[in-house]
Amino acid sequence: MVFMGALALAAAMMVDAAVDRWDRGLRGSLSVQIPPGPSEAAGEEAVARVLEMLQATPGVESARALSREEVGELLEPWLGDVSQAGDLPIPRMIDVRVQPGASLAVPALEARLREVQEGIGVDDHEAWLQRLIDYANAMKVVALSVVAVIGAVGVLTVTFTTLTRMSIHRSVIDLLHLMGATDRFVAWQFQSHAFRLGLGGGILGLVPTLLCLWALQEASAELGELLIPVPTLTPTQWAVIAALPLVTGIVAMLTARYTVLFRLARMP
């Protein structure tokens, strides 16, 4: 139970972290596409002029033209190996970093650049980024719902397990009571024990979870630098997951406490 709950919680938190970083990572960048010109030399010149203009634009941190090889790599999934195609005209791309906090008027920029050459496009990733974020947020809602359901089931499970154990101990409760133990004393005997059991159970469930998450992070680290940042958990999020056994412990403790007090209240 803890295992599944922790995984779902981790998933939700990972998506959250990823969305945040995609947002930050991509909002700071634009890309400019220059369609292939009449000749290679003209193309190079267009690229140089566009770069110049971009660097003179306020708010732009840096602008870098991707080499033909880099563009080829980007296009490879669609066009196959471009380098084999000789001088197939391919578009040129410029990767622009925007200063943090600055915002560029994309349409105006596009209009100015089009004076250099027809058909130049500026893409600020806004549209697809927004769709990605919407999608991720939906995933987050699903994961959080799973967390909520598993959490509720988990709380009920711990509650009922504790209740069952307490019914076995009814005679002990009665005996301690008859010997003159105060309600507090009797409740304490059971709630501290229940807390330890709940905590232990939670830790047992947590170990495979942590192993899974760790394996997941290792695996994604191997994928290396991708356009989309690899989802990871922050130390705080790790702490939240590690604290789950505390929750099971406390639920068990409170159940034991109130079962005992309820039982005791029936006796004079």
């Binding site: 008859l178 010997m179 003159g180 105060t182 006796m267 004079p268």
Partner: protein, 241 residues
């Protein structure tokens, strides 16, 4: 012999009865009345047997004395306190002055003999060192020195009974209630247990023992509370007590 935790007692004529019942009736739920109109006063330091056939209500009467339930009618005073009027929070301290040997022992199976007997002392918050010393001494005295670490399920009925008795007396109660304490032991052990009770009584403990064992009752000469169909009559003892 006995561990002493209470202040020394003093028997005077003004001391109120340890147990005082006035017109007590008891029924379980909607069942028939099990005890009818019981009047009773047990002076401090007294020793009574409680007799009656099976189902006469002996255990029920003792249960009222150790505050397991409240009477359906009538009033009960313990140690001069009107326990019916006492708030629930004050009852634990009254219960701690009462030692009980339950008919079915009620030992905790998962605890050793030592820990079972130590229970009343732990409840009273006695330091652990004192607990060890007193409990070990007491268990040796009831002949269970070799069984300190044994758990009840591995002990014979007679051994369990002695653990139950040790637990009832370990905190030096003012009132000792024993329900068939000689039921599971042979005559020799029964006589030995009786000597333990006599000794506790000499040290001031008020004692009530429910029993079917006529021989013990006759031999001791203590007065007898006789229950017949839920009604109580007092049969004075033969001894010059």
């Amino acid at each position: 012999m006995q561990p002493q935790f209470d202040s020394p007692f003093a028997v005077t004529d003004e001391t109120p009865p340890i147990v005082e019942f006035g017109g007590v009736g008891l029924r379980y739920g909607r069942g028939p009345e099990v005890l009818h109109d019981i009047d009773l006063a047990l002076p401090q330091g007294s020793f009574h047997f409680l007799t009656g056939s099976s189902g006469a209500g002996k255990s029920s009467l003792l249960g009222l004395m150790y505050l397991a339930r409240r009477p359906t009618t009538g009033s009960i005073r313990m140690f001069g306190l009107e326990v019916d009027r006492l708030s629930r929070r004050r009852l634990p301290e009254v219960r701690r002055r009462i030692g009980v040997v339950f008919q079915e022992f009620r030992l905790l199976d998962h605890l050793t003999a030592l820990d079972n007997v130590a229970l009343p002392l732990r409840i009273a918050g006695i330091p652990e060192v004192d607990i060890r010393r007193n409990v070990t001494e007491l268990l040796e005295w009831v002949g269970l020195g070799d069984h300190l670490r044994a758990r009840p399920p591995t002990m014979s009925g007679g051994q369990q009974q002695r653990v139950a008795i040790a637990r009832a007396v370990v905190a030096n109660p003012s009132l000792l209630l024993a329900d068939e304490p000689t039921g599971s032991v042979d005559d020799h052990s029964a006589a030995r247990l009786m000597r333990l009770f006599e000794e506790l009584n000499r040290m001031g403990t008020t004692i009530v023992i429910a029993t079917h064992n006529r021989a013990i009752v006759e031999e001791s000469g203590h007065p007898e509370l006789r229950l017949e169909e839920g009604r109580l009559t007092l049969v004075p003892g033969s001894a010059q007590s």
